[in-house]
């Protein structure tokens, strides 16, 4: 059984909460007491129906205002897969939350209201999906019951979206007509779509191939923590603990420690205290090296024949996530996995309109939820890859040192 993380994108009106509620409900992941709580909350409904959207409304503050203010995580599983849903609100003012939810996702479900077709929000969600390089895209054309399950309506939307996907270079796009409210094509294929030949949504989610999503070619490892127990029996033990970001490491591999640039080799590999012959992404491992080198948190250990970029001047895409605007020349802390360095935002080239992909001037400053192309200069060099090549070695956050807030998502170009 493997694990698929996905995000659902759509506004409240697209039926996103209903869809998630439906997935949980129809895959029998709603439990009796949750059901009772639901029934208590919906007893005021005139027709006595159960409002599936309520299953995903978390906080009282949100219920009172009828909005979603943050990313919520939902869990369900089938015999084939465990699923983690990042349920993020879709309005433009929540771009920050959507990026947060999308950062870990293998897949995005973009919901389109069949009556509306491809709208500005659809475009924005697709742009974020392409920006974050989410490997799989499912376009769910919802509320098909409201358009008499019309194949023409469906086909026209598919044609429109295919054009958006082409412009953005979205590769793996699948389309499916559904009605979340009626449960059509969610778990079972619906008779209402005699013309639809494909799988229902849940089956699609179960069967999408995700093993290629992990990069096993380029070996990258960053030291999180140096383990030195310094007890009598482990007097000389020195292990470098961290997550295998990508690739595979084997005992005996020739490696280089960066940014110092020192060559050595792997003498021992451990997972959870047990020695193993090889380790691979995304395992949390401990690496021991042949030579006694001064290595600390944030240093990288890579294979000598496959090196990342080392630079202190980096072109990036910044997604701004703070109420306080970004100004050119501002200084921040940059956290690249476990490596923390000071940085200055040197040059803001342009603002990227997330609704149209058009480039605009950034002279008036960069506000919450805006996306810019910029150049960062760091106090010491970073060891990185482009986001496109290895997501996890190509991403970072900016931290405002005075507030300690996370103020930006950084994608290395």
């Amino acid at each position: 059984m493997d694990l698929l993380r996905f995000i659902t994108a759509g506004s409240v009106d697209d039926g996103k909460s209903t869809l998630i509620g439906r997935l949980l409900y129809d895959s029998k992941n709603i439990l009796i007491d949750q059901m009772e709580a639901l029934e208590r909350s919906t007893k005021n409904n005139a027709d006595g129906s159960v409002d599936l959207a309520l299953l995903t409304d978390g906080l009282r503050a949100e219920r009172e205002q009828g909005i979603t203010i943050d990313v919520a995580y939902r869990y369900f599983s089938t015999p084939k897969r465990k699923f983690i849903i990042a349920d993020a609100p879709g309005h433009v003012q929540y771009t920050r939350n959507m990026i947060t939810g999308a950062s870990n996702a293998n897949l995005i479900i973009i919901l389109i209201d069949a009556r509306q077709g491809v709208v500005e929000q659809t475009r924005r969600h697709s742009i974020i999906a392409s920006l974050l390089k989410i490997p799989h895209v499912v376009v769910a054309i919802n509320k098909m019951d409201m358009v008499d399950y019309s194949i023409d309506v469906y086909n026209n939307i598919v044609i429109d979206f295919a054009e958006v996907a082409r412009q953005l270079g979205l590769q793996e796009v699948k389309y499916i007509p559904i009605s979340a409210l009626k449960g059509d094509n969610i778990v079972e294929r619906s008779l209402a779509f005699s013309w639809y030949e494909g799988e229902p949504l849940l089956k699609m989610l179960e069967e999408i191939e995700i093993k290629e999503d992990v990069n096993l070619t380029d070996a990258r490892f960053q030291v999180q923590l140096v383990l030195r127990p310094q007890t009598d029996e482990l007097h000389d033990y020195r292990g470098y603990a961290g997550k295998i970001i990508s690739g595979i490491y084997k005992k005996g591999d020739k490696v280089r420690v960066l940014p110092a640039g020192i060559e050595t080799s792997v003498t021992k590999l451990e997972i959870g205290g047990n020695e193993v012959d090889e380790v691979f992404a995304p395992q949390s491992a401990v690496i021991q090296l042949a030579d006694d080198i001064d290595i600390s948190r944030g240093d990288s250990i890579v294979k000598s024949d496959n090196l990342p970029t080392i630079s202190n001047e980096i072109e990036v895409i910044l997604c701004w996530m703070d109420e306080t605007p970004l100004l050119q020349g501002n200084k921040y802390l940059l956290q690249h996995n476990s490596r923390l360095v000071r940085t200055v935002v040197k040059n803001i080239e342009y603002k990227l309109d997330v609704n149209s992909l058009q480039q605009r001037s950034a002279e008036d400053g960069v506000k919450l939820n805006e996306v810019v192309k910029a150049t960062l200069k760091t106090a010491s060099p970073l060891v990185y890859d482009t986001y496109e090549k290895i997501n996890e070695n190509g991403s970072a956050i900016l931290i405002n040192e005075t507030s300690n807030s996370t103020v930006a998502a950084v994608l290395f170009k």
Partner: protein
């Protein structure tokens, strides 16, 4: 490339170990909040793996309500001893005496609310800057929205509207003096994941998780263990039943389920076939209001 794949439990384990190591690296004085329940026992197991071959580099802290199952306390002491961990126990009873707090009254006088006071005092006493908790996002609505690194103010309060974005696997644990961070390494695990992992890793649990005979009374459809903390009234019928527990908490507000499951396989089979979620079945205090957890978290609860 076949073979280089992790199943879902291995992926969850890798993520949790990563989080534990971030905690050790980012904080000066972390502590692991240990209740003696299966979730915190699983966390101890994960923490051991994260720092092996060394021992866990922070103390286990138990906020003892005084209403604990003796089996769970004995298990706690033995576990801490076996792995040579530092165990800090602070008692709600002492906080009640010291601060002249009002004990809850009623039939089942739960001390869950009062734990918050003892916890905050303990954080101050030891200057803990990070408390690692075993909360899971599948447990409850408010928890579904909480970050893995959750910043709390000096009163331990959670502000759901001011959460930091948490991107990729990058955790920002920077705080101002007086603040502290609650970290939840098993956020993405479900109850069933925990049980399956316990089976896979052969993790030992206190005996109360398995079927045993116990004197209980029935209250609003739930079975509550007889103990000196429960107020008995004339109508109560004390009966001996075969029961087990799904969570270990305050004896007065943790209900038992009737069960003959005496080993892990049988317990997991029962959980798969049961249709009642964990908190609903066994926590008597959550039913009070739908927003109960949201309120408690805002007030500094785990």
């Amino acid at each position: 490339m076949k073979g280089y794949r992790l199943d879902y439990l291995e992926q969850l384990e890798a993520e949790s170990i990563h989080i534990f190591r971030e905690v050790k690296s980012q904080f000066e004085r972390p502590a692991l909040l240990f209740s003696g329940g299966k979730d915190s026992i699983t966390m101890v197991h994960l923490a051991r793996k994260a720092f092996a071959p060394g021992k866990i580099p922070f103390p286990l802290v138990h906020v003892d309500t005084g209403h604990n199952f003796p089996e769970a306390l004995a298990f706690r002491d033995k576990l801490a001893d076996d792995i040579k961990a530092t165990l800090v126990v602070r008692k709600v009873e002492d906080t009640i005496q010291l601060k002249k707090l009002m004990e809850p009254k009623g039939k089942f006088p739960s001390r869950n609310w009062l734990q918050t006071y003892t916890l905050i005092d303990t954080i101050e006493e030891f200057k803990f800057d990070c408390c690692i908790g075993g909360a899971r996002r599948d447990e409850e609505k408010a928890r579904a929205k909480e970050r893995i690194f959750s910043v709390r103010d000096e009163f331990g309060q959670w502000n759901p509207k001011l959460q930091r974005p948490e991107l990729w696997n990058i955790y920002n644990g920077r705080i101002h003096k007086g603040e502290n961070v609650r970290v939840f390494p098993i956020s993405n695990w479900t109850e069933l994941d925990i049980w399956n992992y316990i089976r896979k890793e052969k993790i030992a649990l206190p005996s109360i998780y398995f079927s045993h005979d116990r004197n209980v009374i029935e209250h609003e459809g739930q079975l509550v263990a007889m103990s000196e903390h429960v107020q008995i009234s004339e109508n109560d019928i004390i009966q001996s039943k075969k029961v087990r527990y799904r969570t270990v908490g305050d004896m007065t507000c943790t209900a038992a389920v009737e069960s003959s499951a005496s080993n892990l396989d049988e317990v997991i089979d029962e959980i798969i076939s049961t249709r009642i979620s964990e908190r609903g079945e066994t926590r008597i205090d959550d039913k009070v209001t739908e927003a109960a957890m949201e309120d408690r978290k805002k007030n500094g609860y785990f």
